[in-house]
């Protein structure tokens, strides 16, 4: 059986995508307004092709989308996709809020003892 279109050499996900510092910088850069690969590359110390590869990876996991405009291609952040990281954080948020409440209680106890 032939490998289908979904077959990829590497498994990309959003966590893998944001692991690279350059990609995080690109994400932050295009967060507010869409930009072309050339314009993005000007902000970094690498070649346009390297940036292009990063954009490809970001596109693969749907963190960015393209918008063709003549021969220029504008890449823009799909900010909604970023919420997935937020969702993953939720499980820990419960814990760290709990920890905070526990600390709160300790502080209250100390306070009451002082009275």
């Amino acid at each position: 059986m032939q490998p289908n279109a979904c077959t990829m050499k590497t498994r990309r996900d959003i966590f893998q995508a944001i692991a690279d510092p350059t990609r995080r910088a690109i994400i932050a850069l295009i967060a507010l307004q869409a930009m072309t690969p050339n314009a993005i590359a000007e902000h970094f110390d690498t070649t346009r092709q390297a940036v292009s590869k990063h954009l490809q990876i970001l596109t693969e996991c749907e963190l960015v989308t393209q918008k063709q405009q003549g021969r220029e291609i504008y890449y823009q952040l799909e900010v909604n996709k970023m919420k997935e990281i937020d969702k993953w954080l939720n499980q820990f948020r419960k814990i760290w809020e709990n920890r905070f409440n526990q600390l709160d209680e300790v502080l209250l106890t100390i306070k009451n003892k002082k009275k």
Copy 2:
């Protein structure tokens, strides 16, 4: 000059740490209660040594801490460190909340036009 103790082959950070799915699973596993490497390894399909390496990486970027108890070492999540990811998300949170408000306005406009 001799390389000092801080010299590392690789630059680890929290984003790199959570990029690996096994490490994310470990993080989730020990989030609620500290566990030993052996106990953690039982949950995965790899060797204890591999888990140990993941724990080492997580320790390096201060996502987990150790607590020795006889010959056992309990690894526990430093849930506060997870907040760093949350902090990074803040810059995008502003945007996605904004987008939501914009949508909200559109919906309100539609609603008003219907009246």
